[in-house]
């Protein structure tokens, strides 16, 4: 698991100014006009070899003793980070909070996929929420994100905006998405939403008018039955608003992904949910069936949520078969190949973000590890009893067949 931020870090000569967003550069020859907007990134070993270039707004040193840093950076505003931040690289975008001596990594250029939180407020209160909502004024986030978007590499593959519930931001979400259209038109933009706000046709119109060329909204539908969905999201009437939201989006030709988290409250009716989707929402663009992440609210509710994925393979296989029979685009996220019915392997994706993606000691000898999505870091708390490495012997017949062919 990567450390994506912290507070009470070693700050030197950083003015006590309001939080700001800045892009890292490891290029000592960066053209001067760009330096006041950039932070120079260097590692301890490099520092002694050449003198630091001047003119950067900030200097970020990774590794090394704190004592020597002052000497090297002299009176320049600088931050010294531990080697836990070794992953940082050119083009990454940080949020700096001087008064807390804190920083947060907003964008990593080397990652295939970046997530950016837009708000911690939400009108659902899902039993298994991985990012429990807070009722605080966090409207400052939007301005930071609007500052960050122009700094993000326009070749970025995919950015996901999460929450909380991003649509609660209303016009501010539209502003963020419009900025993406302007600065990141080639980046796949994914919004994770509960979809309820789109039941308002005026909001659906505003969203549709953004017209980013590669925009999709991921919306959870947890059951074919309103009472179960509303229970899972802890909000009466949510099911109806969510479904109306999806209809409003599709009638406006917006791309929609349906996301289903599988747990003890949702697994039994997976086949019926699949039937509901093919009969009513066949036009959605993707269905993601997702394993449980043991974080956030899932921890206190674990007894009501945990089911060994091995024990719901029948329901999962039936649901995937139905969705695939109707030519729906279906994926399985967050599952390990060794607990999945082998008929489901073609649908399994390596979906866990790299910064929280891990494998167990058992996985070391597994011959399918490179094809397997592995675990959330949080899976240490609970994982299937049926994790077992695939052995090389199981692979042998294939190898022999290949060898035998003329």
């Amino acid at each position: 698991m990567l450390t994506l931020g912290g507070e009470s870090l070693t700050f030197r000569n950083v003015r006590d100014e309001p939080p700001f967003v800045i892009r890292l550069s490891d290029n000592p020859s960066l053209p001067r006009p760009l330096r006041p907007e950039s932070a120079f990134l260097f590692r301890e070993a490099q520092a002694n070899a050449t003198e630091l270039p001047d003119g950067f707004r900030l200097y970020v040193q990774i590794g090394g003793r704190v004592e020597g840093a002052e000497e090297r950076t002299q009176d320049r505003p600088s931050i010294v980070l531990s080697t836990a931040y070794n992953y940082l690289g050119d083009g990454d975008v940080l949020r700096i909070v001087p008064h807390r001596r804190g920083l947060r990594v907003l964008f990593r250029r080397s990652a295939n996929h970046n997530s950016i939180l837009l708000t911690e407020q939400c009108n659902n209160y899902c039993l298994m929420c991985s990012q429990p909502p807070k009722r605080i004024d966090d409207s400052w986030i939007i301005n930071q994100v609007l500052q960050a978007i122009p700094l993000i590499d326009s070749a970025a593959k995919e950015i996901t905006f999460t929450g909380g519930e991003p649509t609660l931001l209303g016009d501010d979400l539209i502003r963020v998405l419009s900025a993406c259209k302007s600065w990141l038109p080639r980046t796949a933009i994914h919004v994770l939403s509960n979809g309820r706000r789109y039941a308002d046709p005026a909001f659906a119109d505003a969203y549709a008018q953004v017209q980013h060329p590669d925009l999709m909204v991921g919306i959870p539908v947890y059951s074919d039955l309103s009472s179960i969905h509303d229970y899972v999201v802890q909000a009466d009437g949510a099911f109806d608003e969510t479904i109306r939201g999806i209809l409003n989006l599709k009638v406006r030709h917006q791309r929609v992904e349906v996301r289903v988290v599988i747990h003890k409250q949702t697994y039994e009716r997976l086949p019926q949910l699949a039937e509901f989707l093919v009969r009513n929402l066949l036009f959605v663009d993707h269905v993601a069936l997702m394993g449980l992440e043991i974080t956030g609210f899932t921890r206190p509710n674990l007894a009501d949520l945990w089911i060994d994925p091995f024990d719901y393979q029948k329901e999962l296989e039936s649901a995937v078969h139905k969705l695939a029979s109707y030519k729906m685009n279906v994926s399985i996220y967050n599952h390990q190949l060794c607990v999945l019915d082998s008929r489901l392997w073609p649908y399994a994706r390596k979906s866990i973000s790299d910064w929280k993606n891990e494998y167990l000691p058992e996985c070391l000898s597994c011959t399918k590890r490179s094809d397997c999505g592995g675990f959330f870091s949080s899976a240490r708390l609970r994982y299937s009893d049926h994790i077992a490495p695939f052995s090389a012997r199981a692979l042998q017949p294939e190898v022999m067949l290949l060898g035998a062919s003329p």
Binding site: L225, I243, R244, E275, R279, N301
Partner: protein, 487 residues
């Protein structure tokens, strides 16, 4: 459960307030169970006591049946009303083909044919080109009608006779239609229904250049095919098989399809017929009933076997096809595929024989060689027997408006509408069936017909019931049938 979360019972509290029934029909499936279908053609099965509980509002909200009926939009409770939006959307989707209006336009370039099939309804053996060929002028006026239909998809199908005997006219129609379509921008498609006996490289190259599909006739193994389809030299089968190979070479495998006609001689031989299609590398077959029109009635070949004989033939064939699939060959029975798609998907099939309102005129129109316009191919066949009930007008005498609002079209459409036909209006199988005024007129003398003695009704109910039983009792068959859905 952490205390700040509400328990499941909290969200189910409103389920105790009772429920309303959404519109549905129900009919017996077998001795025990009933089939219920809603307005969007979704079905569910219930035993009689549960059905009674449902309609008497005694159904327990926490029962499986309640969950199923709510999920599939048979009932509505106060917890949720988005079902009404979804049901409306599905009903609109099922009926969207009617807003498109006439999509299939059948042209008869000639009635002449070098085959003399006893079951053929219309063909003529004649060398007199003027008597039975369509003129360029008639073709032009007909094309003017074709593009009056607002349908975004226009399929022009050449029937006969043997249309290749008047290929010059086909070329003319294709070129003119393409020219008109440069302005109209419809999804325009051409099909030639041909016995392939006279096909050559030039004709096929022309088909390739204009993206024309070929639909041919293949009745089964050599002896059966040649017995059904006599021609000078007795070599229909050999010519068809050679023609299929040649057409595939030039056009591609998926541009060539085959249709079989069932005769009395076919009845015991369904496995051999299917094997013939498999051997020729087709991935589907349409096990068709013999139609009761034209020379087929005159020669008594229609009465020669009744609906149950044909059903035995059909079920035996379907069983064999399922076995082929179990053995690893993807092979589809087309009629089942159409009915299954109507049962299991939000879409309609587009198949003109199974529509309600009927597909006559508003689904398909026939422009005969002599300029006469008929409501369907079957209507044209009746006319060849001197019954012009389904003649809607003539391209030289009537306008599009006159033809499409003629009593000859509106009366059968209205009278046969299943929503108001005795027995059909309350039949749970109706969403998978159709209004067939031409069939019932031909066999029973009126557009509505007497359903208990209707072979059409008997056949469709039997097939639908059979498919439902297969879907629920045979997991293997279920998976195979699901792979046949047209989505």
């Amino acid at each position: 459960m952490a205390t700040k979360f509400e328990r499941r019972e909290h969200f189910e509290a409103s389920l105790g307030n009772g429920y309303r029934l959404l519109p549905f029909s129900f009919s017996p499936l077998n001795d025990r169970d009933y089939i219920l279908t809603n307005q969007a053609g979704q079905y569910t099965l219930l035993d009689r006591p549960t059905l009674e509980d449902l309609v008497r509002h005694r159904l327990e909200p926490r029962s499986d049946a309640y969950a199923t009926l709510k999920s599939q939009h048979f009932l509505l409770d106060s917890d949720s009303n988005v079902a009404v939006d979804l049901l409306a959307l599905k009903v609109r989707t099922k009926n969207s083909q009617f807003t498109n209006f006439t999509g299939l336009h059948i042209f008869v370039p000639t009635l002449r044919c070098e085959h003399s099939c006893p079951y053929c309804q219309v063909s003529r053996q004649s060398d007199d080109k003027t008597a039975f060929d369509m003129s360029f002028e008639t073709a032009n006026r007909s094309l003017g009608m074709v593009f009056r239909s607002p349908s975004p998809a226009i399929k022009i199908e050449f029937q006969g006779g043997e249309p290749m005997l008047n290929f010059e006219l086909i070329r003319h129609i294709v070129v003119c239609a393409e020219r008109i379509n440069q302005i109209e921008h419809r999804n325009l498609q051409f099909v030639i229904a041909t016995n392939l006996a006279l096909v050559n490289d030039d004709v096929l190259s022309y088909c390739k250049a204009h993206d024309i599909l070929i639909s041919t006739s293949l009745d089964g193994p050599k002896d059966l095919h040649n017995r059904n389809r006599p021609r000078p030299g007795g070599d229909s089968y050999e010519r068809t098989v050679a023609g299929i190979a040649k057409a595939r070479d030039i056009l591609g495998r998926d541009r060539v399809s085959a249709l079989m006609t069932t005769t009395e001689a076919s009845l015991g031989r369904v496995v051999e017929i299917i094997d013939e299609y498999v051997r020729l590398n087709f991935d589907r077959i349409f096990l068709r009933p013999l139609s009761p029109y034209g020379f087929a009635i005159k020669t008594k070949s229609y009465q020669a076997y009744d609906a149950d004989d044909w059903l035995d033939f059909y079920f035996c064939g379907l069983k064999y096809i399922l076995q082929l699939n179990r053995d690893g060959l993807y092979f589809v029975e087309h009629y089942a595929s159409i009915i299954l798609s109507r049962m299991l998907t939000p879409f309609e099939s587009g198949f003109v024989d199974l529509r309600n309102p009927a597909g006559i005129g508003i689904g398909a129109l026939v422009y005969n060689y002599d300029g006469e316009v008929y409501a369907s191919d079957e209507g044209r066949m009746l006319a060849e027997m001197h019954d012009k009930t389904f003649r809607l007008g003539n391209v030289h005498e009537n306008t599009w408006e006159e033809i499409m609002t003629s009593s000859a079209l509106l009366d059968p459409l209205e009278q046969s509408f299943a929503g108001s036909v005795p027995m059909c209006f309350e039949c749970a199988y109706q969403p998978y069936c159709g209004a067939e005024p031409v069939f019932h007129y031909a066999t029973q003398g009126d557009f509505v017909g007497h359903k208990p003695s209707s072979a059409f009704c008997h056949r469709n109910m039997a097939i639908t019931r059979h498919l439902i039983e297969l879907l629920r009792t045979d997991e293997d068959a279920n998976r195979i049938l699901m792979s046949w859905l047209r989505i």
